[in-house]
Subunit: 153 residues, 2 copies
DNA sequence: TGATAATAGGATATTATCATCCGATTAGCA
DNA sequence: TGCTAATCGGATGATAATATCCTATTATCA
């Protein structure tokens, strides 16, 4: 669902959200705690600093920290610089076949599903992720239906 | 959302579904019509033949055709050999942090959203895609649990 | 039976993503 | 001011996804 890079970013930022506010965390610490290559994480977080999600401080006592309260940072903010979730093509099939103008029968359904995914990222905040424990939301699981066994890649 | 390969497969199979039943279509035709590299499409469709979605015939008059009625082929059947949509990890963040045992507040919501995506692929058939025009039925997708709050960016 | 038309499929090239290396830059502190 | 700790960021390497090439195999038809 998410690229490796976006997932790294997400995990690191969640960890940052648990940090004492005002105190930056070093990339080395984060990288070790999350088992992520340090130099890679460094660049990833640097990009988030450029987009305004994080603040970075160089030099002794430096590191990364949230640029604003966790409740003001959405998953979209964190993930979008790496995987662009917005601006997704209207149809599953890319350029082909099915468009707003002449939609296939599944078009409306797909749009609805796809927008729920987007809404999830747009509306879920870092603060939501940080809160542990059973969520208030009841778990309603639609049935999975048949699953055919397929040839592995 | 889908890999290039899966998208190619989907578009090609949709085209196959519009073919006269019983008459195979050549890869060359499909590839040209869809602007897909021919040899690449050949292998892609071959895999779908192995999984039983298509039937292939070699030699003169050969080609690919659906192995069963379009209404019996789900999008999952077509896409799963390339992108495994099933068996997706429980949480966005992969190994970390948030699991069934100790879920973050967004966990249940994410699961619900993610399962709607799966349900879409499992329950939408090729016949649905082939039908043009405004859909009669958006096939009733249960609504995701409301997320907590909306933060304007 | 030979010519031709098609898929089958291994080997290989190309490209994008993921990851590492290492020097440059910046800030704090003695 | 110089030492040290940290990010910055360009260059490069590794790996996986995407695409191409070429030959083998198979089926049809004259």
């Amino acid at each position: 669902m998410l690229s490796q890079t976006a997932e790294y970013a997400l995990r690191a930022v969640v960890l940052l959200a648990e940090q004492m506010p005002g105190t930056p965390a070093r990339v080395g610490e984060l990288a070790e705690a999350l088992d992520i290559p340090q130099n890679y994480l460094s660049k990833t977080l640097h990009l988030l600093a450029l987009t305004g999600v994080l603040r970075s401080a160089r030099g002794k006592g430096g590191g990364f920290m949230l640029a604003r309260p966790a409740s003001d940072i959405t998953l979209f903010d964190i993930v979008d610089p790496f995987d662009r979730l917005g601006a997704r093509p209207a149809c599953l099939m890319g350029q082909g076949e099915c468009s707003e103008a002449q939609a296939c029968a599944a078009h409306a359904t797909w749009i609805a599903v796809s927008q729920q995914v987007q809404a999830f990222f747009l509306h879920t905040t870092l603060a939501d992720l940080a809160k542990k424990g059973r969520a208030a939301i009841p778990r309603r699981v639609p049935r999975a239906g048949r699953t055919k066994k397929m040839v592995p890649r």
